[in-house]
Symmetry: C2
Subunit: 253 residues, 2 copies
């Protein structure tokens, strides 16, 4: 069942401006008037319950969504293959950039916990972008940044050990939470070990084992899904770890 957007009158102060995520969201850098226009095309935050789908793979693409609170995962199912987790979305991040220019959604997106998302109907966004160069630039930049992020992920997936993948993953989360004003050292993993494993190309048992080892080594403390980074430098060292592969890399220097 699709959550229904509430109707609302146009308010004098753009809502986006008052949103706590404003500094990290798409309309960043828009002038007051532009922000007002942007605000007008947004559909009010929709609530999602844990496990509820925001998009289904193959469904027609109509809107981008910005996460306001909570978190979501994207999964892609390919024929003859286990569905894989391809993204985790945190507040301020944009869902659906990979569906632009196809008529259909590339993967399914599901809430990992109670969440709110703002809907941006894409055709209206395009019309608006026509007269707001700033917005166009923001959109390009977001997509380009995502391209780089995906490439970093590709580098992580080929060529790096389970330890390195997990350490990088935790550091990445830490940074994302931190830049949202939350603690970089203590946060809640809204995804299961199985989700993490799927995302990182590891078996869920491996995820569990490596986390346990990191804890033994004193880099982190885990209790269920509550995670504490107790020694971030140790974790960074684990992410960069000099392995055989790295020794070989030195030959290129």
């Amino acid at each position: 069942m699709k959550p229904r957007p509430a109707q609302r009158p146009r308010s004098a102060v753009p809502r986006c401006e008052r949103c706590t995520l404003h500094a990290r969201c798409l309309p960043l850098g828009l002038e007051f008037d532009a922000l007002q226009s942007f605000d007008d095309i947004i559909r009010l935050p929709q609530a999602l319950k844990r496990g509820q789908a925001l998009m289904r793979q193959g469904a027609p693409f109509t809107s981008l969504y910005v996460v306001r609170s909570g978190s979501l995962k994207q999964t892609v199912a390919q024929p003859e293959q286990r569905a894989q987790v391809t993204h985790f979305y945190l507040p301020g991040e944009i869902v659906g950039l990979d569906a632009i220019g196809e008529e259909e959604c590339h993967g399914s997106v599901v809430a990992l916990e109670s969440a709110f998302v703002c809907e941006l109907p894409f055709t209206r966004l395009e019309v608006l972008a026509e007269r707001l160069p700033e917005l166009r630039g923001r959109l390009y930049r977001c997509m380009s940044r995502e391209l780089r992020r995906d490439q970093r992920m590709m580098c992580l997936l080929s060529g790096r050990t389970a330890d390195q993948r997990l350490a990088s993953f935790l550091l990445g989360l830490s940074e994302r939470f931190s830049s949202r004003g939350l603690s970089p050292y203590r946060f809640f993993l809204s995804m299961s070990r199985s989700d993490i494993g799927s995302y990182l190309g590891l078996a869920l048992e491996t995820v569990s084992r490596v986390l346990a080892r990191f804890q033994e080594q004193g880099a982190i403390a885990v209790a269920g899904r509550e995670l504490t980074i107790s020694d971030i430098e140790a974790l960074e060292a684990l992410a960069a770890e000099s392995t055989g592969a790295t020794r070989a890399a030195r030959l290129f220097d």
Copy 2:
């Protein structure tokens, strides 16, 4: 604005229109006038010799490039890590989309063989996109498509065997060549085994061994870098192969 003579000289016919790649390139779908404008901002094809760099990681980003002929690879070097191949570019493909919105190039791009590229200075492209909605759409679509491509790659890298990766890689190349009017069954691998291995997250020895095995099985024939797909269905079966992971995936049905 260029004054246009009443009677257009032959040179005013947009070069893009006569380009054999026109049907696959960025300006696809532009009207005559728009194409003319587009043509105006292109810098004439630049020649690259094998091994020559088009971009260097960290260098300032100024232009997108479209491959006219030949092929290139992108490599990303990360500290404490072997440089990894992240992309191969074939004619008609756009280099640099991942650098938009940063000031610097995300990876190095090097010619794998003699190549020609068309340069599109990005600021001029942006100005042009301001008044050509078609072009904007094309740009979004290109970036979005690349996002999906990268995600497919991520799925390939996590969770799939060496055989599946290699088979998918060959099929992907086949399709790209085919859609450029070249033979889908017989083509030249301009990249080394080592490049392929780096791209697919495999050791170069593994690439060599798997290719040899595919040949034994009658799916392909390889002689150095000359590749023939002798049984495309066999290759497709190898790419989709039902492994343990797949059996598990069936549980989700």
